[in-house]
Symmetry: C2
Subunit: 270 residues, 2 copies
Amino acid sequence: MSGKPAQKRSSGDEVAVDDRSVAARLFAILDAFAAPAGATSLTLTLTAIAQRANLPLSTTHRLVAEWVSWGGLSKHENGQYSLGMKLWELGVQTPTARNLRTIALPYLEDLYETTREHVHLAILDGRDALYLEKLSGHHAVRLISRVGARLPLHSTGVGLVLLAYAPSDVVQQYLATNLQRFLPRTVTEPEAVRKRLAEIRLLGLARMSEEMTAGSSSIAAPIRDRTGQVVAAVSIVTRTTDTIDPEQERAVRVAAQGVSRALGYRRAQQ
Amino acid sequence: MSGKPAQKRSSGDEVAVDDRSVAARLFAILDAFAAPAGATSLTLTLTAIAQRANLPLSTTHRLVAEWVSWGGLSKHENGQYSLGMKLWELGVQTPTARNLRTIALPYLEDLYETTREHVHLAILDGRDALYLEKLSGHHAVRLISRVGARLPLHSTGVGLVLLAYAPSDVVQQYLATNLQRFLPRTVTEPEAVRKRLAEIRLLGLARMSEEMTAGSSSIAAPIRDRTGQVVAAVSIVTRTTDTIDPEQERAVRVAAQGVSRALGYRRAQQ
DNA sequence: ACCTACGCTTCCATTCAGTGGAAGTTCTCG
DNA sequence: CGAGAACTTCCACTGAATGGAAGCGTAGGT
């Protein structure tokens, strides 16, 4: 993790003990399967797992067997391992994911039906927008987003909305780091971003264009819970056009309001 | 697990050692959160976890802390714990869940749009139908199914389809056990079930009525992968009516075929 | 305000489960 | 058929995990 004491350098003949707990080693094994970017789900051999988790082969062998017997990993005929169904089963039980998704899905479907565009549902998690749901239809502009993906806050519609309503220290911290530029039009100047956030708060809507994926634009709106707090964001991602389509904006607003109402938000002014 | 040597009986003053490995104990903690039936996602106190996992409090405390630091559990202000986002993130990466879902979703959306009924996608997992996806709309007859749920094979549309195309030893084993009767019309006689399975194979479609939930019926069809194997099933669940709606059946067939084709199935006769 | 009860957290001596190097096995490919 | 790679099993050693006990914090009762 820290990267400093993990090497087997140092003075003399130190052999660099690994002070991770059993639990940490078990987790390291699962983490070895975390898909790097927009990659397809991983499938690894025992040796590959050992390397990625930085564990001796025999230890890996034993711990992987524990995961398999529980169902967290599964072993395929060819000797490759992949994440197991048990993880999926438990994962979908996670309260935030499950409750939000269940409540929001009907409204996302409506939004998809009326617009026929990619529909996204995301929450703020750490420094990223975490995509809880994505509806796409057959056509589909190729996008990097997918369910479970983490994308930057400053270059996505949902991300900007989430940032706009985030506590100021989160904004502070986020803007303090170097914002990656994906396309020429990506806004990366902290002050310019702040200005946008203010506009978004004023409008209750974010518009993005050509900032993450070439040829695509997005419209996003905040979802509030009963306390009025913004807990998620919906968006549609469209092919970029010259004109703003007010119907699309309305549809996104309607979806966001629908979900908010279903969450118990009553448009308190507070 | 086995239930025999876990007690603290035996002769003399044995104190019954717990021979679970660290890994097994960690897993027992997660399993404590597995939602029992159609219950809402769990949230537990440390003590409750310790009881459910059958672990001493101090051990539970330490291991729970490990889960929390990794993100597999999260601790709320009130001191309650719940499954953490990390589990969700890894869970959605699980190959079967992710690939099948991603490919199938557009077709499920079509099916929902044309029928406006509950749409289900399920796979066979052990002795259960495991629900991978569920679309519902706002109206919604109350159903027990939900994403991640496990329901019996003999009393659900998707279940019967999956069983109809399962290897014969699976069918054998399944029918060898007592099949639960949920409603008067639930078919539980092994021979009657076998007869149904044959009909389903002949028709390529299953019809169920009033066998799991009062007032609801279902139509289900098999999804095949490129090898021709049935890997999943789609269904719609409707309010029970007197007449069969051929349009609905056609819609389910179309959806199932669409997904099969997208999976690479080419209608080989084999 | 005080007390009791309950649930959580920390501590630490004991011990046994986990460790990992090495040897054995299986599979693959030239 | 032989070399190499990947996986599996073995087992003596040891330090990490264990869990009882004591300490802390808070809620509720009187």
